[in-house]
């Protein structure tokens, strides 16, 4: 394979982003391993504001 072809090559197809989240207390590199209940919990977590209303 010459350089030209190499440059046109597409890489990373099918490679998923890693999303590290904390589950109960430890980290998990991918949410694929979370059980259904914990997946639902993560998706419903909302952020806590730090600037307003002490």
């Amino acid at each position: 394979m010459n350089n030209k072809q190499n440059e046109n090559m597409i890489v990373g197809e099918g490679v998923r982003f890693e999303r590290i989240r904390r589950i109960t207390g430890y980290l998990v590199g991918t949410m694929d391993r979370f059980n259904n209940a914990k997946r639902a919990e993560v998706s419903e977590r909302i952020k806590h504001q730090t600037s307003c209303s002490r």
């Binding site: 046109n8 990373g12 109960t24 730090t50």
Partner: protein, 755 residues
């Protein structure tokens, strides 16, 4: 006369001779027979035979079937008898195949983790691998075995129906949860992993590698996690030993004459005083070297040795983190669930360990990935690291920076009154440590002279379904409390029964935990001694889940929503704590209350309660119950209010607790705000806390940070390809994007396990 028959599920039913006749007729039919009257005759004969055999006893199904076989053979109906036996065998297999266990095994075998929730019960185990599936077979089979054979019926029923949850039921009769390992004690004079003897280590790299081995070995003797309570205190001596070696390396390179007596002098100084990098130690080094070398030369030799020591320490810590994320335990199905506590050792050696474990974690794994293990806990203490001017304040700042990028370390607060109560200056084993998701073990009802963290851990814990109690009380608060009391009594009884079984195990059942003396006082046991007495140093813990939903059920609001609920919430958990304290005083066992870290349980309780009570808004309408005393994750509240509202529960939950704050965006860009939150936790009486923020990574271009739908660096969407040309034009993209110096370091690194 035979009037009854005992069925397979042990219920008694009226005896019906027609059923026997039908079974015989079916067997005869399969062999070409068609005479029902004859089948009926044989059935009558069976009844007669049974009446002769079972005078007072009620025959069971198997005994009746045996009699049918015998009668058929006796009457000369050999072919029908054979058909009957075959039919019976087929029925048995169908029945066995349909038992719960076999159905579970089938699902574990043929379903992927993506479609089988059971395989994702613990996110630390990949249920699709051979060893992961094998572990699940064992786990599911033993759970069903204990439910059917070992558990007291009362406890088994309460567990099955979801009133309580007996955690780690699969290990019910086998072992205890976790241990806080004193590596200093373990390394002294070496130890045995059960597969070979290991000498006392002589360099920081060996200290770090052996710490991994200790965690890994002990993980196999218990069902929970492993923790090192004073990580840098334990490894500090390795740094000092490496410094002495480096000193000699420099002398050797410079071809300076040296005698073995110098090494012996330095080692014996270290043995006596414990530190060689502190001022007194350095003065001693200068004095000893000064006997033959001029002062200027001595200075440069020491500087060089220090530089090499720092570098080796970094590499040792890097190796430690890599090992903790790659070495397997438990039949290879998972990496050890490890925790390390550090931050308070002010000796130069200890500081070097803390600094470098933080820096190595900040750098990440081989391609810059965020390390998953160990869980890091930075111990915050006024006068040591909390304020400018404190000797380890720089390390606290560094800990904040690393946590803002890597989610670890978490922060524990030694000044919280309930932690401070155990603190004795100069005795690191009295500094409260946390392990795993939140477990805390420090008080000691069994031996109040030894309120220390080392050599101790949790024995077992069982959680109470609080929303169920709230819903059942239907607003009647006094009746809620009396039911809660009964449930606590039930849990205490169950924990004691389990301790009885655990206590009957022998020292040799735990070759590392007990055999190597890791557990407090286990060094007094012989191989065949029961572990009963020494287990008393551990904790028996009553957990709870869903305080928020429970309050909703009782008063219509949770503790984030109304003053009434806030007060009642504290009364409920305060009540649980009082009951645990009473039980501890009565038994001199460490009964305590834990804010349960529900993982598999989060969904289990709510599913059962929805079936029972229907879908009730704010209570059973979600897929999970809220963790312990936490405010619901979907409830909008400021970080500071969340901390303020959850802090009082930390004091009550002496068996373990944690508070999380969820932060938007990348906190690395605002370290001041990050530190403010940690400081607020300390000021408001939190025992243990951490900040959650999204950490995403694109493995294709190596970007780490927040990724929405599109990677901010290479512009691809999840799963999309990207042209090589585009990647090459991105600044920083080389498959290895570390600095040249780091790459060289990596090249120099020797295998972590080789000693």
């Amino acid at each position: 006369m035979v009037a009854f028959i005992r069925k397979r599920d042990s219920r008694v039913a009226p005896f019906d001779v027609n059923k026997i006749a039908q079974a015989i007729f079916k067997s005869a039919e399969s062999q070409g027979g068609n005479d029902f009257a004859q089948s009926m005759q044989i059935a009558e004969k069976v009844r007669e035979e049974l009446e002769g055999t079972f005078v007072e006893e009620v025959p069971n199904v198997e005994q009746v079937q045996d009699m049918v076989e015998k009668t058929l053979i006796k009457a000369g109906h050999d072919r029908t008898a054979k058909a009957y036996i075959l039919y019976r065998e087929q029925r048995t297999r169908v029945r066995e195949r349909n038992t719960r266990l076999m159905t579970t095994m089938r699902d574990l075998t043929f379903q992927d983790a993506s479609e089988n929730d059971l395989k994702r019960e613990n996110a630390n185990i990949d249920g699709d691998t051979p060893m992961g599936t094998m572990l699940k077979y064992g786990s599911e089979a033993s759970k069903q075995f204990y439910e059917m054979y070992l558990l007291n019926e009362k406890h088994s029923l309460a567990h099955k129906e979801g009133d309580i949850h007996i955690h780690d039921l699969d290990f019910f009769s086998l072992t205890t949860t976790c241990c806080q390992i004193d590596i200093q004690k373990l390394f002294k004079n070496g130890f045995n992993t059960g597969h070979g003897f290991i000498r006392e280590p002589n360099s920081i790299q060996s200290y770090a590698a052996l710490t991994c081995i200790a965690i890994q070995s002990n993980q196999n003797d218990q069902h929970g996690g492993q923790s090192i309570p004073g990580f840098e205190f334990g490894l500090a001596r390795g740094v000092a030993k490496t410094f002495i070696s480096k000193l000699f390396l420099v002398l050797d390179i410079l071809d300076i004459d040296r005698t073995e007596s110098v090494r012996i002098d330095l080692r014996s100084y270290l043995e006596t005083y414990g530190s060689i990098l502190n001022e007194a130690g350095q003065a001693e080094v200068r004095r000893i070297l000064g006997r033959t070398i001029g002062p200027e030369k001595v200075h440069s030799i020491i500087e060089k040795a220090l530089k090499y020591t720092e570098r080796d320490t970094y590499q040792a810590m890097e190796g430690f983190v890599h090992n903790m994320n790659t070495m397997h335990s438990r039949a290879g199905a998972q990496i050890p669930f490890s925790s390390i506590n550090y931050g308070t050792d002010t000796s130069p050696e200890g500081r070097m360990v803390t600094r470098n474990i933080l820096l190595a974690t900040e750098s990440g794994l081989g391609n810059g990935e965020t390390p998953i293990f160990p869980i890091h806990i930075f111990k915050v203490k006024e006068g040591i690291n909390f304020n400018p001017g404190d000797p380890n304040y720089d390390l606290f700042k560094l800990a904040c920076r690393v946590s803002a990028k890597r989610l670890f370390p978490n922060f524990s607060f030694l000044d919280a009154p309930f932690n401070h109560a155990y603190y004795r200056e100069g005795r690191p084993e009295t500094e409260t440590a946390y392990m795993g998701c939140r477990t805390r073990v420090v008080a000691n009802a069994n031996d109040p002279t030894r309120e220390i963290v080392t050599g101790r851990g949790n024995l077992s814990f069982t959680s109470i379904n609080l929303p169920r109690l709230g819903l059942s009380a239907a607003g009647d608060i006094p009746s809620f409390f009396s039911e809660l009391e009964r449930r606590i009594d039930l849990v205490c009884g169950q924990l004691l029964e389990r301790l009885e079984i655990q206590g009957a195990r022998k020292c040799r059942n735990y070759p590392f935990l007990m055999g190597q003396g890791l557990w407090l006082d286990s060094d007094t046991l012989g191989p065949d001694d029961e572990v009963r007495e020494v287990l008393r140093h551990g904790t028996l813990t009553i957990g709870f889940i869903g305080l928020a939903e429970c309050l909703k059920a009782l008063v219509g609001t949770h503790h984030g929503e109304s003053e009434e609920a806030r007060k009642l919430g504290l009364e409920i958990i305060g009540f649980m704590r009082r009951k645990a304290d009473e039980k501890a005083a009565e038994t001199r066992l460490n009964f305590s209350v834990i804010a349960t870290p529900a993982e598999g349980l989060a969904g289990r309780f709510v599913r059962m309660d929805r079936e029972r009570f229907g879908s009730i808004p704010g209570i059973t309408d979600r897929e999970y119950y809220t963790n312990s005393f936490h405010l619901p994750v979907s409830f909008p509240v400021s970080a500071f209010n969340k901390i303020r509202l959850e802090a009082p529960y930390h004091e009550m939950t002496n068996g373990g607790h944690i508070t999380y704050v969820e932060v938007d965006g990348d906190p690395s860009n605002n370290l001041e705000a990050f530190e403010d939150i940690i400081r607020a936790m300390k000021e408001m009486g939190i025992g243990y806390g951490s900040i959650n923020h999204p950490v995403d990574r694109d493995p294709v271009c190596g970007y780490t940070g927040i990724i929405g739908d599109v990677c901010p660096r290479c512009g691809r969407r999840d799963g999309e390809g990207v042209p090589m040309e585009k990647l090459r034009n991105i600044k920083g993209y080389v498959h290895d994007h570390r600095s040249m110096e780091e790459q060289l370091e990596e090249r120099d690194k020797t295998a972590n396990i080789a000693l």
